[in-house]
């Protein structure tokens, strides 16, 4: 890897580690300092490596520079120094020269604690996701703006507000008490689930970025799975769901970047290894009596890794959706359940149920109705597709819908 490729690569893997460790040391009061030191470290690397060539061990070089910068900061910030020194003495680490611990274990612990701190119930969900992308995943402002189809200013403002919120709420970077872990994990899993979905279903055209989002969500969930106290059935179920879904990543887009619908996908492009991993985590998730919505969604995703249209497949998926909707209603689950109902029980029954859903503002609702009426009442189907067309702004969706209108004429 050349220096030009290496720095962005290391930025992605090391920025978040340095930030997590320093932020843990400084507290959220000085989160910007932690982020600045991490950024400055990379700035120094790009300048010095450009002149002198790559160091023997680039990662160790980054850690040394980050440590020195952190030490300088601690020395020069008097008030802050006193505070941190007190804390360090308190924790037995004492002394004038605080040890800035960038060991593998401390990086892992700091990152896990950071996940809990950022995914805190008192932080608005949107802010959690922004902070997670910036601090836990090391995404740049431009990348985050791109993922959310918005501009850099909006994202910057959102992040400033989110950091203020962390301070206002006095959130500390630590593991929740054992009795609280399951409750706190719920918020963490919601955020990781949304982060993954943001990548998987995002309207952004940048498919590399979208894949990165999914991989980052998986990496963070993996961190939770590796830690004994957070290795719960729900964590494994979410990880399983993510593996099954991402196994189709490469099959979902054709060479020109056009969306390939599930029915038309080339199964040989599905990632076998990820499917196997998904099964492995689903197996781990089924130990214990806990049944989360992630279990049900992972089950649904598992059946989708079977391409063949068997009655068994659709019946199983239908019952999983029935169960999922009883746990938690969502319009997407309601629409999917009704589509699956048509596969398991036939279109006639599904049309009756679909007409009851009352999800008129959603283009997907009219798309579903069009799909169900196709072959039964093509005039009605075309009307539904036309309605869907007026409700979506996505060029990719419009293309797919226009094709369907053509097919029922």
């Amino acid at each position: 890897m050349s220096e030009n490729e290496l720095i962005p690569h290391l930025f992605r893997t090391e920025y978040r580690k340095i930030t997590a460790v320093l932020c843990k040391l400084f507290g959220f009061e000085h989160i910007e300092v932690a982020e600045d030191i991490a950024s400055d470290t990379f700035l120094a690397a790009s300048e010095i490596w450009g002149l002198k060539g790559l160091p023997e061990n680039p990662v160790a070089w980054l850690y040394t520079v980050a440590k020195n910068k952190a030490r300088n900061f601690l020395k020069h910030e008097n008030v802050f120094h006193n505070k941190v020194a007190k804390q360090l003495q308190h924790s037995g680490a004492g002394g004038e020269e605080p040890d800035i611990d960038l060991s593998v274990q401390n990086i892992k612990d700091s990152q896990l604690q950071m996940i809990f701190a950022i995914c805190h119930p008192s932080i608005p969900l949107e802010a959690q996701i922004g902070l997670a992308l910036r601090i836990l995943c090391g995404f740049g402002i431009t990348e985050i703006a791109d993922a959310f189809l918005t501009n850099k200013e909006t994202i910057s403002k959102r992040l400033v507000r989110a950091r203020e919120k962390l301070r206002e709420e006095n959130i500390t970077i630590e593991f929740p008490a054992p009795a609280e872990i399951n409750k706190r994990l719920e918020t963490v899993l919601t955020t990781l689930y949304l982060l993954f979905n943001e990548g998987y279903y995002s309207a952004s055209d940048n498919s590399t970025l979208r894949k990165d989002l999914c991989l980052e969500a998986m990496r963070l969930t993996y961190l939770l799975m590796e830690n004994d106290s957070t290795d719960t059935p729900a964590v494994n179920a979410l990880l399983s769901l993510m593996c099954f879904q991402s196994s189709r990543f490469d099959a979902r887009l054709d060479q020109s970047g056009e969306v390939v619908l599930y029915d038309d996908q080339d199964v040989s492009l599905w990632d076998k290894e990820l499917i196997d991993k998904g099964s492995y985590f689903l197996h781990r998730a089924s130990q214990g009596s806990q049944l989360s919505k992630y279990h049900l969604e992972a089950g649904i995703a598992y059946w989708h890794t079977h391409k063949a249209d068997t009655p068994e497949k659709w019946e199983n998926i239908l019952q999983l959706y029935n169960h999922l909707l009883q746990l938690e209603y969502s319009p997407v689950a309601a629409l999917n359940r009704t589509y699956v109902l048509s596969k398991a029980n036939g279109k006639a029954e599904a049309i009756i149920e679909a007409e009851k859903l009352a999800l008129d503002p959603l283009f997907q609702y009219h798309l579903l109705l069009g799909e169900l009426y196709t072959g039964i009442n093509n005039t009605r189907a075309a009307e539904c597709f036309e309605k869907a067309l007026t409700l979506t702004h996505s060029a990719a969706d419009k293309k797919i819908i226009a094709r369907k209108i053509g097919q029922c004429r």
Binding site: Q319, Y321, N322, H323, L325, Q326, A334, N345, L357, A358
Partner: protein, 113 residues
């Protein structure tokens, strides 16, 4: 939206009994019906089934077996749904599979305390 209690009554001695396949088909009917209500976001609480055997406690330490000494019908379970009106709650109840085997559904609006 108001909450309504659906009470399922059936002749306990005539509870559906059949082959595993028939029982599975019976469970599927219930699951599809409840899933359909949930898909309309009108399920408040799935509720539960009730065990057939029970006791009725009356004044004077009089305890009798089951509520069905005179009538054969007993409560087999309950579900809570959300509906805009009693009429809508009734129309949701009309899909209940218990009606296919001679049972009935009582629909009652919850009157919160």
């Amino acid at each position: 939206m108001k909450d309504f209690l659906l009470v399922f009554r059936n002749d306990a001695s005539a509870a559906p009994q059949g082959s595993p396949e028939e029982m599975q088909a019976w469970t599927k009917r219930w699951m599809d019906w409840v899933g359909g209500i949930a898909a309309q976001n009108k399920l408040a609480d799935r509720g539960n089934r009730l065990v057939a055997e029970g006791k009725v406690v009356r004044p004077g330490k009089l305890v009798t077996d089951g509520p069905y000494t005179e009538i054969k019908e007993s409560i087999g379970g309950y579900t809570l749904i959300k509906a805009a009106s009693l009429e809508e709650a009734v129309s949701l109840a009309e899909g209940c599979p218990i009606l296919l085997v001679g049972g009935n559904v009582e629909v009652r609006q919850i009157n919160p305390m």
